[in-house]
């Protein structure tokens, strides 16, 4: 009998895994499971075009939804457990799905604040339902939207709300937005961009609680003040959806730990936001919550199930992502962070049109661009090549 492949998670990573399995030789049963009945859809527009009301929901359907991949769908069904000995996935509804090969791509869920009350008007943004609920609230023209967390999601939601002409207060507990991701210097550039677009940005301030009985009326801050709010959006990161894997024997550590070929156990691979893999290139374990990683890792995790151990490829790309905020396209290739050196090599931060290099140990590890897509792609090669800091500067001078 032909083998059965199961993909847990009909997300971007899961659908690319399914696509690769079908197109690279798997002709047996292919089961795709997801708790979200609306999947598969693409998430980046949820904080941008769909939230802005510019795009219909139809426009974010992933190609795998309509493509003929002969998938046995289990949508609206949550994975409940994994039995590696019996080789089956147990669904919350009671069904057991046997597999020969399994791709785990159950992604992550929006994190909430400790003691976050269940008041109308308080939102997170992760799923299409989250997006539509928030959009409905924004369409009522609230007097003020308070966004908790100036990470990428919070920053994009702030930009989209300003685009709708709404007053926005953006709260961030750290001294600058995106400090952990980009460091203080570039975080300061992001702060200035928000303020230029009329956002009331409050830094170094955490949430102490919410005001309101049925519906949110305000947000109390740790400095003792209160910001009035008709709508609040909590964007404080995500938690990998590993709950259903507890006790399965897989190693769980802020994600599912796998080897450098994405194998977490014999015949079991991981991909997307949930995968933690050792990167040879960067000498550290990575878990990446971005679009392109989900595409590439989904493909690699699907392919891995079709090849022998000795033919398996090492997964070690240079990660890349983008974030659209106001009229700026922010892109980052490679690694960055507060513990890296950073230097602007093309353009100027005053105009929010520049390229900066991130480095450690005198090597280029990352390239950040604001409205410089061409230069980011050209300089990404520096990270691929592991170029020295001096070579990086030189190359930037050549192409500028």
């Amino acid at each position: 009998m032909a083998s059965t492949m199961v993909v847990a998670g009909a997300s971007l990573a899961g659908m690319h895994a399914a696509h690769t399995l079908r197109n690279e030789g798997h002709d047996g049963p292919l089961v795709v499971v997801d708790a979200d009945p609306r999947t598969p859809y693409d998430r980046p527009p949820l904080s941008k075009q769909v939230l802005a009301g510019e795009w219909d929901v139809d426009r974010i359907r992933l190609p795998g939804a309509s493509e003929d991949l002969d998938i046995d769908w289990r949508l609206g069904q949550r994975c409940h457990g994994l039995d590696l000995d019996r080789r089956r996935v147990d669904l919350a509804g009671g069904e057991n799905v046997p597999f020969d090969g399994l791709v785990i791509a159950t992604g992550a869920s929006a994190r909430t604040l400790p003691d976050q009350p269940d008041l109308a008007g308080i939102h997170v943004l992760r799923t299409l339902d989250d997006c539509l609920a928030l959009r409905a609230d924004l369409e009522r023209q609230p007097d003020r939207v308070v966004i908790v967390g100036a990470g990428f999601i919070g920053s994009e939601v702030a930009a989209t709300c300003r685009g709708r002409g709404l007053d926005v207060t953006l709260l961030e507990a750290a001294p600058v937005p995106l400090e952990r991701a980009l460091g203080v210097e570039m975080g300061t550039v992001c702060a200035a961009l928000h303020r230029r677009h009329g956002v009331d940005l409050r830094l170094g301030t955490a949430v102490a609680g919410f005001a309101g009985t049925d519906r949110v009326e305000g947000v109390h801050l740790t400095d003792g003040s209160t910001v009035e709010a008709d709508v609040a959006v909590v964007g404080v990161g995500v938690v990998p959806n590993t709950g259903w894997l507890e006790g399965s024997g897989l190693t769980l550590r802020d994600g599912v730990v796998c080897d450098e070929t994405l194998l977490a156990a014999p015949g079991v691979t991981v991909a997307g936001d949930i995968a933690r893999w050792p990167s040879r290139r960067f000498g550290e374990a990575l878990r990446v919550e971005h679009w392109e990683n989900a595409v590439q890792q989904g493909e690699a995790a699907g392919r891995r199930l079709l090849v022998d151990d000795r033919d398996a490829d090492v997964f070690d790309p240079v990660p890349w992502f983008w974030s659209d905020q106001y009229d700026r396209k922010v892109q980052l290739a490679g690694r960055s962070g507060a513990d890296h050196e950073v230097e602007v090599v093309i353009g100027s931060t005053d105009e929010w049109r520049f390229v900066a290099l991130y480095g450690r140990d005198a090597r280029v590890r990352g390239v950040l661009g604001f409205n410089r897509p061409r230069h980011v792609m050209q300089l990404r090669q520096l990270v691929v090549d592991g170029s020295s800091w001096d070579e990086g500067r030189e190359r930037a001078r050549e192409i500028a």
């Binding site: 980046p44 190609p63 679009w291 983008w322 897509p373 061409r374 980011v376 792609m377």
Partner: protein, 63 residues
């Protein structure tokens, strides 16, 4: 083989340029230009990768 870009969808992320600079170029004006609309067959694998990895799914290959 013909490369078709839906410029209503394209956001000039330049991912395609990173994969197939022979065919795609994002210039200083931040717009994407197609350098060869009918590229040679040997570029097909690269172009298929560009189609897959375009964040806006704006690229299509006809033929």
């Amino acid at each position: 083989m013909r490369v078709v870009v839906d410029f209503d969808l394209c956001e000039s992320n330049a991912v395609c340029m990173g994969i197939a600079p022979e065919v795609f170029e994002v210039r200083d004006d931040d717009f994407l230009y197609i350098l060869q609309e009918e590229p040679p067959e040997e570029l097909r694998p690269k172009l298929e990768e560009a189609v897959q990895r375009c964040p806006k799914q704006a690229i299509r290959i006809d033929g």
